[in-house]
């Protein structure tokens, strides 16, 4: 069982348990009149071994936020702190899993070598490296396919390779950017259960971005709801559903339905508001000076 930790958008929780902290992060692309404000001001924290899902309306800058957290993009303002240290480049304690598994795996390498790639520059013995690769592939159930190429596998299996690669890297925190958005519903359920299982097995913290509300509630200890861009945190909702979770039993719980509805309403309202806002902006834009 994963320890249930007190959540609450960066409110309490003891400092020692806090793994990741996002402090007043904003991101603006471009400058001057053509500037796009992707993220306005986002702050929240993730505790050690916590599973946090970030949901928001589509196009709300979830991916941008995750890339900032992962050290791939520099935030315009604010700080990302991992165990109190500022993140300026991708840290060794983080691993990132993208939505596009087909594009993040190397088609010229076997499954084994894909998982091995990030371990090659770590100071490990050859045996240790191979053991990590085999253990990770075992955990995602791909041992028989270790010498295949990714393109010989189905979409769901390819994403499992990407997850195994992240696990073998032994990160403290796993960042996942809509990892199950491009697989069919059945596979998606299997992958959700798989990630819950490896989370236990590898005692790992997960920050999981998704646009799927059911998924966010089903998987997490806490759901962070974002506003439409420029993004802010709308709400942080603790998910007190029991573990282990089950695709049928958990989703039949009244608490599940209640939480799901709560998140849904928050996002729906958000979309209505942003729609009105958009209409207003368009009106002013058409009225405004055109060259």
């Amino acid at each position: 069982m994963a320890p249930r930790l007190a959540g609450g958008g960066g409110a309490v929780s003891t400092v020692g348990r806090r793994l990741l902290e996002i402090r007043h992060v904003s991101k603006t692309y471009g400058s001057g009149d053509s500037a796009t404000h992707a993220i306005a001001d986002v702050s929240f924290a993730v505790d050690d071994r916590e599973f946090v899902c970030v949901v928001g309306p589509s196009g709300c800058g979830k991916t941008t936020l995750l890339k900032c957290v992962g050290g791939l993009l520099a935030p315009t303002n604010g700080d990302i702190l991992l165990r109190g240290t500022r993140v300026t480049s991708p840290p060794e304690e983080m691993a990132l899993v993208f939505q596009e598994y087909g594009r993040s795996l190397m088609p010229w390498s076997t499954v084994r070598n894909n998982v091995l790639l990030p371990l090659r520059h770590k100071k490990l013995t050859r045996q240790k490296r191979n053991a990590l690769v085999e253990e990770a592939l075992e955990a995602v159930g791909l041992t028989p396919f270790i010498d295949r190429y990714p393109w010989q596998l189905s979409g769901g299996m390819q994403q499992r390779v990407a997850i195994a690669r992240a696990l073998a890297y032994q990160p403290a925190i796993l960042l996942m950017d809509e990892p199950f958005a491009s697989v069919d519903a059945q596979t998606r359920g299997d992958l959700e259960d798989l990630i819950l299982r490896v989370r236990e097995e590898f005692a790992i913290t997960i920050l999981f971005v998704t646009h799927d509300i059911d998924e966010s509630v089903y998987l997490s200890d806490r759901v962070i709801v974002l506003t439409h861009g420029p993004t802010e945190v709308k709400a942080s909702i603790d998910v007190d559903l029991p573990f282990p979770r089950d695709q049928i039993a958990t989703k039949e719980l009244p608490d599940f339905a209640h939480l799901r509805g709560h998140v849904y309403r928050l996002i729906n309202r958000e979309q209505v508001e942003s729609g009105e806002e958009l209409a207003a902006t368009l009106k002013t834009a058409t009225k405004g000076d055109r060259p």
């Binding site: 890339k67 993040s104 190397m106 088609p107 390498s109 520059h121 190429y149």
Partner: protein
């Protein structure tokens, strides 16, 4: 089997037509096919092989290999660096637009050589451009998701180039190499026309100057055969090295 038979049938028909026509026309400019083939056998199988064919092959091989190595060494960094490209592309385009014969005389002066050094350098120089441009393009075309993946896992430097950048660009680099290889044959013949004492191009020119048309045609046939076989060889290497690419594309097409 049927495919190979079809591939061979058409050239055989053309050769038969040539033989029939040359016998009928009896034109000294177009010796009979049978005469050319006898000449071919006498010269190239194998009495003059080491004297003229081997030097030509060495020049092609060395010039082409040099072009591949330099193309990768320059092309990969340029593919990765926007500033590098901004600075280098005008120069690359300028030299690429230069017709090779325009540089042949000066290459002899600059390299103080009419031997293999000048010939190999000349071949390498003009073979460089297709490989270089394809390398730059191939490296630029790498999927940004893959680059971000390697960045997030801290895979950098030589490891990144060896395991990610080079393999990703390799299909396009091979396309450049195929163009370059045919250029190498052209450049080989061209350099051997000019201040040379060996090579297939040299034999071709000398035969023409002494009105020995059968040896000249035999040299022409040999150059065609060499170009064809070299291309086949490169395709075989490509199939082996890029086996993953064919599988990947087939899987993507499904």
């Amino acid at each position: 089997m049927a495919a190979i038979a079809a591939e061979i049938a058409v050239p055989l028909l053309i050769l038969a037509a040539w033989q029939a026509w040359t016998v009928h026309a009896n034109d000294p400019l177009f010796p009979r096919l049978s005469t050319i083939l006898v000449q071919f056998k006498e010269m190239w199988l194998f009495s003059q092989f080491h004297l003229h064919v081997v030097p030509s092959l060495i020049r092609i091989g060395a010039g082409f290999t040099l072009a591949v190595i330099i193309g990768l060494i320059i092309g990969i960094p340029l593919g990765l660096s926007r500033w590098g490209r901004l600075l280098a592309m005008p120069h690359i385009e300028w030299w690429r637009a230069m017709p090779p014969p325009a540089l042949l005389p000066i290459s002899i002066l600059l390299l103080h050589s009419i031997g293999d050094r000048q010939k190999i350098s000349f071949i390498a120089f003009f073979c460089l451009f297709p490989i270089l441009l394809n390398t730059i393009d191939g490296v630029r075309g790498i999927d940004p998701t893959l680059i971000e993946t390697t960045r997030s896992y801290g895979v950098g430097g030589f490891e990144r180039i060896r395991r990610v950048v080079l393999p990703a660009a390799l299909p396009q680099i091979f396309a450049g190499m195929r163009t370059s290889l045919s250029l190498a044959v052209i450049m080989m013949v061209l350099t051997e026309y000019f201040s040379s004492t060996s090579g297939v191009g040299y034999v071709l020119l000398i035969s023409k100057n002494t009105f020995q048309l059968a040896p000249m045609w035999a040299a022409i046939v040999l150059i065609g055969v060499l170009g064809y076989l070299l291309n086949v060889l490169l395709i075989l290497v490509e199939r082996r090295v890029l086996a993953w690419h064919r599988g990947w594309r087939a899987a993507a097409a499904q």
